[in-house]
């Protein structure tokens, strides 16, 4: 009796700690369930918008010579349809799904960086609103969602339309990067006790690889967008062929992002399938390690396919063959997953429920999309089918079959969990058949529409070419599909509002999330479980009761801390107690500063933009300041007789992993920029430039030296801090000073050694690379000062050294890029330099 009272007291306290405040306090929310649901809701809104846009397109194409939409409206609408579906629906929905579920699947109370996901949400919302607003202002992007230069350049798109795309999408991408970093650190560190990598639900593997792919895949697009926006705003010719640029550089960068993007969307969908199939087969997934291997293989190989979007640009045949071969090869990991699911169903005792119906839709439609994808990988066929309606059909089979259907299955599957209401099923079946029939009626024969000669992205077509009935049927099918989505929406709303209360674990699944309340408590787990299997609820019958009764880890609330376990990334052995942040406005404030930056850049008010950028950096530092501890704490009781250190006192804290993931992202950005430099040098027609960089050797050598001395000084500061011998302060100040010198060195190389960047792509890219190094030196200097202030305020001690160690990693990265850039930009002209 007494124990029960204690448990409910603890649960009340946990509720208080993890709750989001009411009213305006909602803007300060950081709880992963709240943020995840917000992501999914906003993404659903954008899905409805994107679908309505598609209906307008289909209405226009219903008959030849239609005057329902003019060319301007049509071009804006098809551009926005693609942009909304890719950037504002698919990716954010995945983010929301993973943010909401990952801690629940992995047995944690929240993510590693809850404030970062809140920040990501605001970036997504603001970027999305910029794009949405442009549509109502009639200046929506109209160069296609792929934004090929030079059509998207200043000369051929003089208005603000293209800038809206570049800035809006980049703003949204910030949230994707934030998500990637967050999820890498979370999946590796924030799991339940005993959950080794080999016992992680497959969803965790899928999301780990997806997050890594986002961290590596989005930087090329961000780089390309930045370069194009600089070209549009300041006339630096990165893509202008007359001044040494190359429009194909844009295509390479765009598809270097664009193809992995397809798998970034598909893998999470496969993840939910891999969660549902074992439940409905009533047994664990067979071939766990096969599926893990397939996920990793997909992650890698999907980066070797991008040129199959460029088979007609005039690249030599053998190069096309490399990409053709890789495009076919990537089908193998996907078939492996399919047959692992099939084998699981064969080995199990399948039960037939509503989500299974949607999984059939997925199987049928996605297999078809995969097979037409193999067709498109064949070079000669691609020469015919590229940029026709065949590709439109193919990509909708892949994305709707491979993403939307599994997501609807997931929606029904987890609806009882997150709404607490029972799924009835009648209307959901109607919705399925409307969607399935409508979808195939829209897209199946659209393959043929392309093969009989209809190109993509045409706003009208003449009579008599044999395209009339094909298009009319597609339009009818599209409207049937819309009715299906409407039925689905009605069913979900009806279920959430008036459904019967859900039974506990209605599908009798085996993964941890079903041990939670329906809907889950704000803190997820009353105490954190110890797991011994991939499906713990099947193998550990007492787990649920133990967790509820507080007999797991961290069952007691204390010190107003929001706690969750951090584990060793491989073994799942608990190694720290992670203190989670409470509600704060800092993510919103930082995102608002970024909004000022982006919006004023869009409107051409560059001074305000500079203020926005500086304010964002300050806000980020202020935010970082709120973390950490101001005194050393002894190891704390974690329950089960275990004593663990608090995370700011651990070497492998989540922040350390976050820094690594962030630098992986940054490094990809950097390598892509180097690729641009080398690519233009090797390929662009108007090379070499009139003159090369001319600074003498002293200045670049001094710049590199300063960067390395800064690194040395940070290293010294870390050493002094750890040993307690000698004070870290002078070393930090030296680090700041050396970073400032490195910054000055970069600036002087640009100012004295190069003509104006508008004269040639060579100058523009060299300036960009040196500017990149300078920016890093600047941040290293700021970090030196920041660490000094933290030290003074008592946030750093021999045990609490994370701030210093992170600054050292940054300085190391800065020194590395500095020496690479300086050697490259000074060395290439010496090696190959023959100015024209």
């Amino acid at each position: 009796m007494n124990e029960t009272a204690g448990v409910s007291e603890d649960r009340r306290e946990l509720t208080r700690l993890f709750s989001t405040p009411p009213g305006f306090g909602r803007l300060a929310a950081v709880n992963h369930s709240v943020i995840g649901l917000r992501f999914m809701l906003v993404a659903a809104m954008f899905f409805i918008l994107g679908g309505l846009l598609a209906m307008l397109l289909r209405a226009q194409l219903a008959i030849p010579g239609n005057e329902f939409l003019d060319n301007e409206a049509y071009n804006q609408i098809f551009t926005m349809h693609g942009t909304v579906m890719m950037f504002l629906f698919a990716i954010p929905l995945i983010e929301g799904l993973a943010l909401y579920f990952i801690p629940k699947f992995l047995g944690a109370r929240d993510l590693s960086f809850p404030r970062l996901s809140a920040f990501g949400f605001w970036c997504y919302l603001f970027g999305g609103l910029i794009l949405l607003g442009s549509m109502f202002a009639g200046v929506a992007p109209d160069s296609g969602w792929f934004m090929y230069t030079p059509l998207s350049g200043r000369e051929f798109t003089p208005g603000i339309n293209a800038d809206v795309w570049l800035i809006g999408v980049t703003f949204v991408e910030v949230s994707a990067i934030a998500f990637g970093i967050e999820l890498v650190a979370t999946v590796l560190k924030v799991r339940s006790a005993g959950m080794s990598l080999g016992r992680m639900p497959l969803f965790g593997w899928y999301i780990l690889i997806t997050a890594l792919m986002m961290v590596i895949g989005f930087p090329p697009l961000i780089l390309a967008s930045i370069l194009l926006e600089i070209e549009r705003a300041f006339a630096w010719p990165f893509f202008d062929v007359a001044l040494g640029g190359d429009p194909l550089l844009w295509q390479h960068l765009f598809w270097l992002f664009g193809h992995p993007e397809v798998y970034i969307i598909f893998l999470p969908a496969a993840a939910v399938v891999s969660m549902m199939v074992p439940t409905f087969a009533r047994r664990p997934l067979v071939g766990y390690h096969w599926v893990v291997g397939a996920i990793i293989a997909t992650g890698f190989i999907s980066f070797g396919l991008w040129v199959h979007h460029m088979f007609t640009v005039g690249i030599p045949h053998l190069a096309l063959v490399f990409f053709s071969a890789a495009s076919m090869f990537v089908a193998l990991p996907t078939t492996i997953q399919f047959f692992a699911w099939l084998a699981t169903l064969w080995q199990g005792r399948p039960v037939r429920r509503l989500p299974m119906l949607y999984l059939f839709g997925f199987l049928f439609i996605f297999v078809c999309g995969g097979l037409t994808g193999v067709m498109l990988a064949l070079v000669p066929f691609n020469w015919q089918a590229h940029d026709t309606h065949f590709v439109v059909a193919h990509l909708h089979y892949v994305l709707i079959g491979g993403f939307v259907f599994p997501v609807i299955a997931a929606l029904y599957y987890w609806l009882p969990l997150f709404s607490g209401k029972e799924v009835s099923g009648r209307l959901g079946q109607w919705a399925f058949w409307l969607l399935f029939i409508g979808f195939n009626l829209t897209f199946l024969h659209m393959h043929l529409t392309g093969l009989v000669g209809m190109p993509r992205r045409v706003y009208t077509y003449p009579e008599g070419l044999g395209w009339e009935w094909l298009n009319l049927v597609s339009t009818i099918g599209g409207f049937i599909m819309t009715a299906g989505f409407a039925a689905l929406l009605l069913d979900v709303i009806a279920t959430v509002r008036t459904g019967a209360p859900a039974r506990r674990n209605p599908w009798q699944a085996g993964t941890l999330e079903w041990s939670l309340d329906h809907p889950p408590a704000v803190y997820n787990f009353a105490s954190l479980p110890e797991v011994r299997d991939v499906e713990p609820l099947w193998e550990q019958p007492d787990l649920e009761e133990d967790v509820r009764a507080g007999r797991g880890y961290l069952g007691r609330a204390r010190n107003d801390w929001q706690e969750t376990l951090g584990v060793h990334a491989i073994s799942g052995r608990p190694d720290q107690i992670i203190l989670l942040p409470g509600p704060t406005y800092m993510p919103l404030i930082t995102a608002s500063c970024l909004l000022v930056f982006f919006l004023s850049f869009l409107l051409g008010i560059y001074w305000l933009s500079a203020i926005g950028a500086a304010a964002s950096l300050l806000a980020a530092l202020r935010w970082a300041w709120a973390g950490g501890l101001d005194r050393d704490w002894p190891d704390q009781d974690a329950g089960q007789g275990l004593k663990l250190p608090l995370h700011p006192q651990v070497i492998e804290a989540p922040g350390w992993w976050g820094m690594l993931a962030g630098l992986l992202c940054n490094g990809t950005f950097f390598i892509t920029a180097l690729f641009g430099y080398l690519y233009l040098w090797a390929v662009a027609p108007q090379w070499p430039p009139e003159s090369f960089i001319d600074t003498g050797m002293l200045l670049p050598a001094a710049t590199v030296l300063a960067a390395f001395l800064a690194l040395l000084a940070f290293h010294r500061a870390v050493g002094n801090n750890a040993s307690g011998q000698g004070r870290p302060v002078p070393a930090l100040l030296a680090a700041g000073l050396m970073s400032a010198l490195a910054l000055a060195g970069c600036a002087m190389q640009i100012a004295t050694g190069l003509p104006h960047p508008t004269t040639h792509a060579y100058v523009a890219l060299t300036t960009f690379l040196l500017g990149y190094c300078g920016l890093h030196a600047l941040i290293a200097g700021v970090l030196g000062v920041y660490c000094w202030l933290r030290l003074r305020a008592g946030y750093v001690s021999a045990r609490r050294s994370l701030d210093l160690r992170l600054a050292r990693i940054w300085a190391g990265y800065t020194a590395a890029v500095m020496i690479i850039v300086v050697v490259l930009v000074q060395g290439m002209p010496l090696l190959l330099g023959e100015a024209s």
């Binding site: 005039g314 492996i336 399919f338 692992a340 066929f381 026709t388 190109p455």
Partner: protein, 309 residues
């Protein structure tokens, strides 16, 4: 099947009239058949896995399922396809000498074609491509502004027109007749109306035609009023002399063309008059300055001048 009715030019990749297109159409049908077969098999397997009669585990061991279905079968199928694709693609490349070379320059939103006559003099036409049957023809594609893509589905694959580059594609028509070509890469406001007329002739007819086109000069044809109006309103961008490379489409062979405005409307006398003054209504955003202020007499004079052979 699936080909447009009589009178209309063929636009379909599945009704090939060229060597590359035939080869691709053949592999297309094979792949479609294989795709349908595999879809039936996969759906049947999926349905069987769930709607089978027996309640307990069925089928071969999981490892065998994954290995056979996930690795071995797809490897065999894909490898065969890949090897076939490499050979087939290699055979379509523009290797060795071509009998005829046509230079194509894509503009927003029309096509310029440049031939050489026997003396090597350039001949310019717009939106009409003439080819000899049975001969290897190299099309060299360039762009004047943004990226476009040259595509005649009945003859072969497509190749992009990219600023700063000259891309080459080899076509070898196997049948005479009329075909429709069009831009396949989104290129702005009027991407939809950037088609061209392709006519494949017997070899002798082709050479006769080129000889006729060479040096064709209709600048001084027809009534004076029309000529003067042309000089006043059109000559900055257009010419009626095939040797002249102008900013706008060459109009020397306008009377022989099937369409106006790169496939916007058919070339009838009524449409020509409507086009001259109302081209911005017919093809909004096209690069020709607005001429809606022209009075009816000027339009009539211009039309007569342009129709004059």
């Amino acid at each position: 099947m699936l080909v447009a009715g009589c009178g209309e030019p063929s636009v379909s990749a599945l009704a090939p009239a060229g060597e590359a297109a035939s080869e691709i159409a053949r592999i297309t049908w094979i792949m479609i058949a294989a795709t349908l077969l595999l879809m039936v098999v996969m759906s049947a397997l999926g349905l069987h896995a769930v709607y089978r009669r027996s309640d307990g585990p069925v089928g071969p061991s999981p490892l065998a399922v994954i290995l056979a279905g996930g690795v071995i079968v797809p490897t065999v199928v894909l490898l065969a396809l890949l090897i076939f694709g490499v050979r087939s693609g290699d055979g379509m490349l523009p290797v060795g000498e071509a009998a005829v070379e046509v230079r194509v320059t894509a503009h927003q939103w029309w096509w310029q074609f440049e031939y050489r006559d026997a003396e090597g003099q350039s001949i310019f036409t717009a939106n009409e491509l003439h080819l000899p049957v049975g001969e290897a023809v190299d099309i060299v594609v360039e762009s004047e502004d943004v990226i476009h893509s040259f595509w005649v589905p009945a003859l072969g694959g497509k190749i992009d027109a990219i600023p700063g580059r000259a891309n080459r594609i080899r076509l070898r028509p196997t049948e005479t007749g009329q075909f429709r070509g069009q831009c396949a890469e989104f290129c702005g406001a009027q991407h939809a109306r950037m088609a061209f007329d392709v006519q494949v002739h017997a070899v002798d007819d082709f050479h006769d035609l080129i000889a006729d086109m060479g040096g064709l000069d209709r600048s001084n044809a027809g009534p004076t009023a029309g000529r003067e109006a042309f000089e006043q309103h059109c000559m900055e961008c257009h010419s009626r002399y095939t040797a002249r490379d102008h900013e706008g489409p060459n109009l020397a062979r306008l009377p022989e063309r099937r369409w106006l405005g790169a496939g916007t409307v058919s070339n009838t006398s009524g449409n020509l008059r409507e086009w001259i003054a109302g081209h911005q209504a017919l093809k909004p955003g096209n690069r020709m300055p607005d001429h809606s202020a022209l009075d009816d007499d000027t339009v009539e004079a211009l039309a007569r001048y342009l129709e004059e052979q």
